[in-house]
Subunit: 169 residues, 2 copies
């Protein structure tokens, strides 16, 4: 799938088919995360693949948002090391977005469950054994889509300025 098309057509998908995500597609998704840029190429991340259904259900149970992870055939947790980069949140977000786009390009649906600083972050860290000095940036649910979604955005003229904040031409 063309990169511009992937960016414009990807929607958050929260309902999935039961069938598992093939291992070779999972690897392509992780590869997309691995190749994310990061501040000084610090790569301050680990990706925890949530293969075990019980673990996904346990995580979903404590998640303030993202109950649908319990019914997804796969999950990925993006963990960052805040000491390892000057911009660890941005770095982890880039890796997450790369994985969402790659999954969409492979015909898979995903939803980003925001976790950094959320109410559920500490609870999920305990379940997944994530060390105190690491942060949970995001959880990603993954599966073949069982729904199609539409979305909207502000028009460019509403969000773009020229040379100076507030200047529209």
């Amino acid at each position: 799938m063309d990169v511009l098309e992937a960016i414009k057509t990807r929607r958050s998908i929260r309902k999935y088919e039961k069938r598992p995500v093939p291992e070779e597609l999972l690897e392509k998704i992780l590869e997309a995360g691995r190749w994310a840029p990061s501040a000084n190429n610090s790569q301050p991340w680990n990706f925890i693949v949530l293969k075990d259904e019980g673990t996904r259900k346990e995580v979903a149970r404590v998640a303030t948002y993202g109950k649908f992870l319990a019914e997804a055939p796969l999950g990925i947790a993006v963990v960052i090391d805040p000491q390892a980069s000057t911009h660890p949140v941005e770095d982890g977000a880039i890796a997450t977005q790369n994985m969402l786009l790659a999954a969409h390009g492979l015909g898979l649906g995903t939803c980003w469950i925001g976790s950094y600083g959320s109410v559920h972050e500490e609870k999920v860290k305990k379940i997944l054994g994530i060390p105190e000095n690491r942060r949970l940036l995001s959880l990603i649910s993954v599966g073949f889509p069982a729904e199609s979604r539409k979305s909207t955005r502000e028009e460019l003229r509403e969000i773009v300025f020229i040379d100076r904040y507030g200047k529209v031409t």
Copy 2:
């Protein structure tokens, strides 16, 4: 360009040809930012297109990192409203990454100048007239590449865990 290829082959480019970035390519890049996902679709961003060479040079002068912006034919500043989203830094990073990938798919080179919380953030905010209650997430330099770059990443086996932090199989 295929989305997986775009993700894996994009490198940070800091040297650019003098020729300007055509308006239709700039619009495709901004479209890619516009269609980024955000927490609750809050879209807490503005994009300031740095068309004026003097402004780019002024910004580059105060930037702790990113002096090459002075020689780039175009720049984009990504501004976020921290009050408008539960995850404004992640949202702004997603929009930035979408624009980097789109630019690469269009044959353009970019470099992400990390700005959120940087030494130069306040100085650039003053130059661009960005209000006190907004944050500068990133600066992006854009142009046709005048260099080619290679990079490396940790192998998947070094960064991926299964079901639990530290568990590799």
